[in-house]
């Protein structure tokens, strides 16, 4: 087991165990905080995969932005900490079956597929490549993205005002 593997399993453990807490903890504030570790663990996995830019984006946008938004959402809702999320046998059974079947399929896909492999261990930093692609062949989706963000901004302004 190399150092790479050890770090990978460390991050995987953080991600999975905190994700499990997110859905099982009864206090919604706690589950919002365990989401922090899930998102952080995923950022670590991205970094290990050689996607350094995506890892930074994950940290800045998800950990720094969206999670804060979620915690605000929890805090501005009246008495939300008192809400007991119902997880009786009635919901757990179908959920387990569904997740089991889906997980089984995914596992089968994962093991039986001949994935295209990139040698990530010695690929260069991706930020420059990304800038080059965005300015080059993908400039059209890039400008479209500007419009998507414009629409998001207009939508946010529309929802925000009375």
């Amino acid at each position: 087991m190399t150092l790479y593997d050890i770090i990978f399993y460390l991050f995987a453990l953080v991600t999975i165990s905190s994700a499990y807490l997110v859905v099982t903890v009864r206090n919604i504030v706690y589950s919002a905080f365990s989401l922090l570790f899930t998102l952080f663990g995923i950022a670590g996995l991205y970094a290990l995969l050689g996607a350094d830019f995506v890892a930074i984006v994950q940290l800045i946008v998800y950990v720094g932005g969206i999670l804060i938004l979620m915690i605000f959402g929890v805090m501005l809702t009246n008495k939300i900490t008192n809400v007991q999320i119902k997880t009786g046998v009635f919901q757990i059974l179908p959920a387990t079956i569904g997740v089991g079947i889906f997980g089984g399929f995914l596992l089968a896909v994962l093991l039986n597929t001949n994935w295209l492999n990139l040698n990530v261990k010695d690929s260069p930093a991706t930020t420059f490549q990304l800038g080059q692609l965005l300015m080059n062949e993908w400039v059209l989706p890039f400008e479209l993205l500007g419009i998507v963000l414009l629409i998001a901004l207009l939508g946010a302004a529309s929802i925000a005002r009375k």
């Binding site: 790479y4 605000f72 009246n78």
Partner: protein, 122 residues
């Protein structure tokens, strides 16, 4: 590739160990003689009223929402900005123009939100 990140992971490891160790050691080694006064929220202040989980105003939420959208905007400027010289050398002035279009599209939205009072607090 991993070698580049090794210092980061080492710092991360040290930070976690340090944080956990200090908290744990103060619990283990520190003398603990609790009294009612010591356990109250403000030892010598007003009596705490209500829960600690206060509701915050919806306005925070709106600001946070706008923040994320601007955050995303900056994310896409970043790969362009850090390598601007190289890109400029390679592609010429049009690198500047395509980012300019992107920003203009977005600034329209910014002006709109500003004019409609999206950033006003009251």
């Amino acid at each position: 590739m991993l070698e580049q990140y090794l210092p980061v992971f080492i710092v991360l490891g040290i930070a976690i160990v340090f944080g956990v160790a200090t908290v744990l050691s103060s619990i283990i080694f520190g003398p603990q003689r609790p009294t009612t006064e010591k356990l109250s929220t403000y030892e010598s202040g007003m009596k705490p009223v209500g829960t600690t989980k206060e509701r915050v105003s919806i306005k925070y939420y709106l600001i946070a929402m706008l923040f994320i959208i601007f955050d995303l905007e900056v994310i896409f400027v970043y790969p362009w900005a850090v390598q601007f010289k190289k890109l400029f050398h390679e592609f010429g002035i049009s690198v500047f123009i395509s980012m300019f279009i992107f920003l203009v599209i977005f600034e329209i939205g910014y002006l709109y939100v500003y004019k409609k009072g999206g950033f006003k607090w009251d």
